[in-house]
Structure formats: C-alpha cells, structure tokens
Symmetry: C2
C-alpha cells in the first residue's frame, strides 16, 4: 500500500533543503545540498535529484505535491524565481512549471519568510494563531503575516517587506532605496558594518586577528557578552532599533502571536530585555501586553514544514 507524502523545500542563498512529510505532518527525511554559485539549469537538476532521493528514502511514497519556500524576489503568481541578487543568474526561472512536469503533481512557490511562517503556524510556535506575524532576522530581515492560515499578500500577489520599514531616516543607505530601514539597522550585515566602522573596535579587531573583514555579528555578540564596551554599545543600539520595529508591527497588525527567528534569537539575551522594557510602556489603545512574542520552534526546518503545509492543507 502506498503512503501519501508531500515534499517541502527551502531554497536559500547558499543551500537547498528538501523534506518529505507524511500526511499527518511528520517529517520522514531530509536532504540538502549547496546551491551557491550554481546556474539555474544545474540548480534545477540538483533540486530534482534531491526530491527523488527524498522520495526514495520513504517506503512506497505517493507524492501529493511539492511546496517551496524560496528567497525572493519571486513571481509567485507565475511560479518564477527572479532573484539574481542572491542566486546569481536566476532570472525568471520557471521552477513551478519544471517540477510539475517532472513529478506530475501540484507545485507551489512562496517567499521563504511566508513558508517559514506557515510552518510555525502549522506545527510550531504560532500553532493555529488567528493572526501570526513572523520576523526573521539573519543576514537580512524577512517578515510574514498569516491570517487564518493564509498568507497575506500585497497587490498582484506581491510579498510585503516589513523588514524595510523605515526606522531612522538619517540611517545607512539600503539596497531598498531608502535610508535607515529596519534591515539596514539590525541585520547581521548591519551589525558587522557598525562594528567594522566603530572607532573603539580594538577588542573586536584583536578577536578577528587584525582582519576587519572577519568581524561579524557572531563576534560582536560574543564580545558584548564578555563586556566589551564598543560591542555592547552596538548591540544596545541594535536592540533599541529592533524594539522600535516590533512596536510598529504590533501597532499595525496587533497579531495574536509574533514569532521571532533567525540569528537574532541566538543573541536573544542581548535583544529581548530591551524589547520587554519597551513593551511595558502602557498604551491606551493597542493591547501590547496581550501579544504573545515567542521564539520560533522549527528552526531551519520551518520552511520545509511550511512547504509541506502548502500541499497538505489543500490536499487533505
């Protein structure tokens, strides 16, 4: 007897991960490979191989469909990856058409932040929250709003970018075209940049063996924990800017659950006290105190779960 399964896939800037799930939503197996600097045709071949390996690892699979979370920009309406910024050469790559032809099943493509949020909604920290807002702070800052289990989309199916909300109009220039957006202030790259430019970064430079290019967010976090004043100041500013962005998200959406994920959660001890302090400010209009702010539960697998949910929520 065959068992119905769904494939959930997460395509990032460096890796592609593929998971196979049974119809109860259990992850049965996971395969991954580096996709960095791989051109689209070879990349699609690689992805097909990973899917096939995942299916081969399961007894008598009957594939229901493939759900993909991918680093954007994407054209989710037409199923195209359109992200030469992160995936070199990936212009208008018709991944949905290709995989549907190969595997003869429904294929869905969503922004990676949306896929991860769907995963957390289905099996993670935001389980069945009526309104779930997810924020991922890593190299960049991604956001997603899930209402009643459905992705909120902007016009023409576009993906809103809460990570580019403006926090400090005199802040650093971002590739989004504006200055001082959230991502430009709190992302891993932003923290590295601040640390490299700080006048009093001697301690960090020593940790990086004198090479400023080796100063990164992880190093700044470590140095801050060890009490380095320059690193503490950088993390305090980032924590404040992080809190301001969270305040705005709550004012705009008042979600039942706000899920935080990405590298920022590894330095939660440096970020969250400032956020908690800021959230204590009494607000007569918005119930800030009733929003559940929770760490993500599914880690790197959130996108896989979300991909599987895209298929299973419609198939079953």
């Amino acid at each position: 007897m065959s068992q119905p399964v769904a494939i959930g896939m997460d395509i990032g800037g460096t890796h592609v991960r593929v998971g196979v799930f049974n119809s109860d939503g259990h992850l049965l197996g996971q395969h991954e490979a580096s996709i960095a600097a791989i051109a689209p045709e070879n990349g699609l071949n690689l992805i097909e191989r990973l899917i096939q390996e995942s299916l081969d690892s399961v007894i008598s699979p009957s594939l229901l469909g493939i759900g993909i979370g991918c680093t954007g920009p994407l054209d989710t309406v037409h199923g195209l990856i359109n992200n030469p910024y992160t995936l070199e050469g990936w212009n208008s790559v018709p991944i949905v058409e290709r995989l549907s032809k190969t595997f003869k099943v429904p294929v869905r493509l969503e922004n990676d932040a949306d896929a991860a949020a769907l995963g957390e909604y289905w099996q993670g920290a935001g389980r069945e929250a009526k309104r779930l807002y997810a924020v991922t702070v890593g190299t960049g800052v991604g956001t997603s709003l899930i209402v009643d289990g459905k992705i909120y989309r902007g016009l023409d199916g576009s993906h809103p970018e809460g990570g580019h909300q403006l926090i400090d109009p005199d802040g650093p220039a971002c590739y989004c075209g504006h200055r001082g957006c959230w991502e430009s202030l709190i992302s891993g790259l932003a923290i590295s940049r601040y640390a490299r430019g700080a006048k009093d970064n001697g301690h960090l430079l020593a940790m990086a063996e004198g090479d400023p290019n080796r100063i990164n967010a992880r190093l700044v976090t470590e140095a801050a924990r060890a009490g380095d004043p320059a690193s503490l100041a950088i993390m305090q500013k980032a924590a404040r800017d992080f809190s301001l962005g969270i305040i705005n998200i709550i004012s705009f959406f008042v979600p039942d659950v706000l899920v935080l994920s990405g590298g920022v959660m590894k330095s939660a001890d440096l970020f969250l006290p400032t956020l908690e302090q800021t959230l204590k400010t009494p607000n007569p209009m918005v119930p800030f105190d009733r929003v559940h702010i929770l760490p993500a539960k599914l880690g790197y697998y959130a996108g896989l779960y979300g991909g599987a949910y895209m298929i299973l929520s419609e198939a079953i």
Copy 2:
C-alpha cells in the same frame, strides 16, 4: 409599500451625524447635532432622536439596521463606547444594546477610521479594491485596512493604530506612551505645537493677533502658501514625516489603493509633492509604483456610507 433603509452614523468628538440610505446605497437624508460635553444618557437620547428624525424624513421606511462609526477606543465585540479621552464620561456605554432595543434591528459598532474606509471601499475612492488602506490625518491620525471588503482586526477584535507607528524615536512624547509616533509629528495638533514653539514664528503670531494659542494648522498652511519661511519649514518637515509613514504602510501592506483623507488633503499642495518625490525612489522588492494613492471621495460622509454598508452588505 415600505422601502428598506439603513442608518449610517458617525460619532466624532464634537458632532454626531446620522444618514438614511436606501438599499441601493443612496443617501436620502442627513441629520446632525453637537455632542460635545454631553453625558452618555443625554447623548443616547439625542442619537435616538436623530435616528427617528432621519427615518421620519423618508416615505414609509422599513429599517434594516444601524451601522455606527465612532471615535475610539471602543469594544466592538461587546458594542461599547469606551472613549473618555474624547467623549467625556463615555465609559463602557452600551450603545449597541440600547439602539437594538429601541429600534429592534441589528446594530453594528466600528471604529470611525474603519467605518470611513468601508464607505470609501463601497462608494468612494477605493471602490472594490482588494486591499484598501485608509489614512485620515486631522486632529489625530487614524488608519484602517479593508481586505476583500472586510475590516482587518487585531487580537480580540482590537483596532490597529497605524497612526502611532514610530517615525522619530527622538520626537515629541505622545499619549500613546512613545516618542515620535506618526500622529505626534504630522497631526493638526502637532503642526500647531511646532508652530507655537518655533523661534521664528513672528509672521504666524501676527496672523494670530499676538495670541500663540490661536496659531493652528490652518494658519500655518496659509502662511506657508504665502511664503513664510518658518511655516514652510514646519510643513516641509511634516511632509517628510508624512511620506515616511506612507512608505512604511506600503512596505507592510502593499495595498491596491491607499486613500488619504482629513485636513491633510486641504494642504495637499504642501504635502503631496514630497510624497511623490519619495515614492519615486526605485525599490527592487515592493511595487511602490503600482499602489494607487487617491484622495477620499466621500469627505465627512464617508463614515455614514460605511455605517450603511455594514448593514446593507449583510442584509441584501
């Protein structure tokens, strides 16, 4: 033969307006009265009289229901006005229960920004927009998101407050508990406050016959148009802060239509060029150029139309 009608009502801080609509959505008559400094019991009596007058102005009305937009905070779930900030003494006033008993019809209560946005969605500038975001800048700043003709609500039915998004963390303190929120920077009250505090406000003071308390946003707008440098600087700052808030709204929601209303539209010539300039910044991720930014069409009547729509959209 009786004709089915709906009552749409708008309760503001100073006035209550009542409109009677036929089932095709045409406004058949409008009655209003001052509600400033009127205690709840007298206020409810007044409101009942206005409704009765409106019904009496129509031939053989058959009332389908009453839809109310009211200045918040409200408890829309339990139908309570809970706004002692604007309506003195109006604590937990059960207007929905009271009017349903008196008129024996369904009564719905919504935040005034939501009601006005529903009106613009139904018969105004945002007609049938899949995603409509409305911003009203007057004494305060109200916002509303309408998705597929339904009000987006926060947890426990709360009303999100985009007007209190943070724009300048070093800005003026607001009653919302934070500094430099949008309302504290661009509302009519904010502009008056800046003008009263400006060092070079001689021209404005002369216009106000020497009384700083008579300097208001209307005066600043007039003076800016006449070329007064102090007033121009205030309006330019407000226009910049206004634009930053709009950018954030588009990044977070990517609405098909963004409707602007309130006093700000009377000084559109001073605000909109800066906004248009800001929106020209190319953005690789969010389709800023495809968002239709439009002035509201229904003016003071938007809330009445929205109230009627609450009833007619369910009754017909």
